[in-house]
Symmetry: C2
Subunit: 336 residues, 2 copies
DNA sequence: CTGTTAGCGCTTTCAA
DNA sequence: TTGAAAGCGCTAACAG
């Protein structure tokens, strides 16, 4: 009953006949008008309208070897962190006539590899990953196929192809520098057990210059885990002055636990998060955190893929979008 | 340089030759093994492996008239409300071999119509909307094309095709009933200016049995707008006992404004939100709200499309997933 | 169980 | 500026 197109769709043939031209002329009139006379264009457009023509991109793509689709592979769409990236990606692509195919890897290598194959099967014109591709098999296959690839939200010495991200090492380092500038020496870390969190921790420790109390929690991080993390850290050092958290969710929990214990923030304990979530500015006290322009990452990634598809020379296949520390009340009384 | 597939991909032909069978047999061995002898299957699989075969779904779809793609049209992906739906949709589809093409309508009719055309052009096997399709032109076109359509997150007397949602009228009515049950007569509404919010307000008023102070705020609703909304409502009735907010974000703002004015919640003012956002359970006080199973909506919608594509008889093309009021501290001292 | 034939709807290439 | 021929890579329909 519904294989997909139960109605007999009008084809370019029908349009051509209606317009009294050859199919190829009709094709050109609709998708490459420069090659056709004004008069013909009008005739064909009228004919297309008359027969209710809707082009079949599958057929076009088969011949032209361009699907006008780009794959976007995220761990899960519900990671709020990546939403502005996905949104900007989708928008920028749509403006250029491309659509995004969404794939959720679920942090699973096997699933990721399967999805990559699927996207190649669909002849996606490019693949954008939120994160790096870690599986060696997948990296190798992507390189061999030669499909445009953009990795994002991280830096790498050897990206598969193109990359838009920032240095998590530097983030950790910057936060440590910020803490040191405030004169806090007794500091701790509450971090998720993921790759990027580990990098930030590494940068943090390098700048602090010593090991510090650390609570590692499993992904996905949450308020509840943040509470437990602070309890853990206070056990390691009851006189902690400042905590860096690898996500704003975790920081939210740390703040809640501090409140429950009657520890004043920031007077007795300073807290810094990561991600600049919606709620960060509105917490009590408002949360100091690290902001990353996720929308810019999406826009830039989309543009890189589009440029590649158009053979536009690409100036910089690796873009560092940087980050910024947003100081709020949770680390500074002088902030609103 | 990179039209899409710069490398010369192996085709089914190459696999067939390598295996010493005809192309169609190779095709069947890989995608419909029941029709082929065990021995042949093994030969073909080995051949596919050997030549590094990656099927071309574009070509298959052209012939078989099934693209194995389903369009998901959302206003914006960053509406947190719809995330569980999109996630479940993507997952359920992927498990059945379908991929989701994401489209963002941006609450714009023209854009929505353009996207629908695009998805038809791509021969999507189905379209899932978060919300109803309001443009008459679009509804008409979708009906004529006969493509499986699922509208969600709402009910309708005349869905285009299939529907998974719940009654916003009943939500409003249920909240009003809950307020009345608590003995609160001086109640108010803070609501967004959207269609569904208006329906809930209508249900609320019908059950309360009289008009009540209302503050309407423009979308997207936010904490800041919630603060202003409460100020507005208190101007209309300084002795307000309870407020229903059309989103948890709004409720967050109402709570913040109450706190700023020294109004105790729930003792002096009760507050109810909508959506059961992540943060609702963790606010101070925790927020009473309305929960909707967005993931179930996504799963069911995906299943409906899949069933349609497989000509599986559909028992119930309209599913009401209901909702539930989650009582927390913002309306009840006896809650944790 | 396997093969032949034909063609999905479009666009590339070449020629007029 | 327009057209004819050919075929992208795959699978439905039928025959063997």
């Amino acid at each position: 009953m519904h294989p997909a197109t139960p109605f007999k769709a009008a084809t370019l043939h029908d349009v051509a006949r209606q317009a009294g031209v050859s199919p190829i002329t009709a094709s050109r009139a609709l998708s490459n008008p420069k090659l056709v006379s004004e008069n013909t264009i009008l005739k064909v457009q009228a004919a297309a309208q008359a027969v209710g023509y809707i082009p079949n991109l599958l057929a076009g793509g088969l011949k032209s070897k361009r699907s006008l689709m780009v794959a976007g592979l995220v761990p899960t769409i519900s990671v709020a962190q990546f939403l502005p990236t996905v949104q900007a990606l989708t928008e920028t692509l749509a403006d250029a006539g491309y659509q995004l195919i969404l794939g959720q890897t679920g942090y699973d290598h096997a699933r990721e590899e399967a999805l990559i194959n699927t996207m190649i099967s669909r002849r996606a014109d490019g693949i954008v990953f939120t994160g790096l591709v870690h599986s060696a098999t997948a990296r190798e296959r992507l390189r061999r196929v030669g499909i445009p690839v953009v990795e994002t939200w991280d830096l790498s010495e050897r990206p598969i192809d193109m990359l838009v991200g920032f240095s998590h090492l530097k983030v950790g380092s910057a936060i440590a520098g910020y803490f040191l500038g405030k004169g806090w020496q007794r500091v701790g870390i509450a971090t998720g057990d993921d790759h990027r969190g580990a990098l930030r921790r590494e940068g943090f420790l390098a700048t602090i210059g010593k090991d510090v109390p650390t609570a590692v929690v499993p992904a996905p991080s949450s308020l509840a885990l943040g509470r437990r993390a602070l309890a853990d850290l206070l056990r390691q050092d009851p006189k902690l002055q400042a905590v860096y958290c690898s996500s704003d969710q975790l920081a939210q929990g740390v703040l809640a636990e501090a409140q429950a214990r009657g520890i004043r923030v920031p007077q007795e304990l300073a807290v810094c998060g990561f991600g600049n979530a919606d709620f960060a500015a509105h917490m009590q006290p408002s949360l100091t955190t690290v902001h990353v322009d996720g929308a810019a990452i999406g826009r830039l990634a989309a543009q890189l893929v589009i440029d590649r598809c158009n053979d536009t020379p690409i100036q910089n296949p690796v873009v560092d979008v940087g980050f910024s520390i947003i100081e709020r009340r949770s680390t500074s009384l002088s902030q609103a």
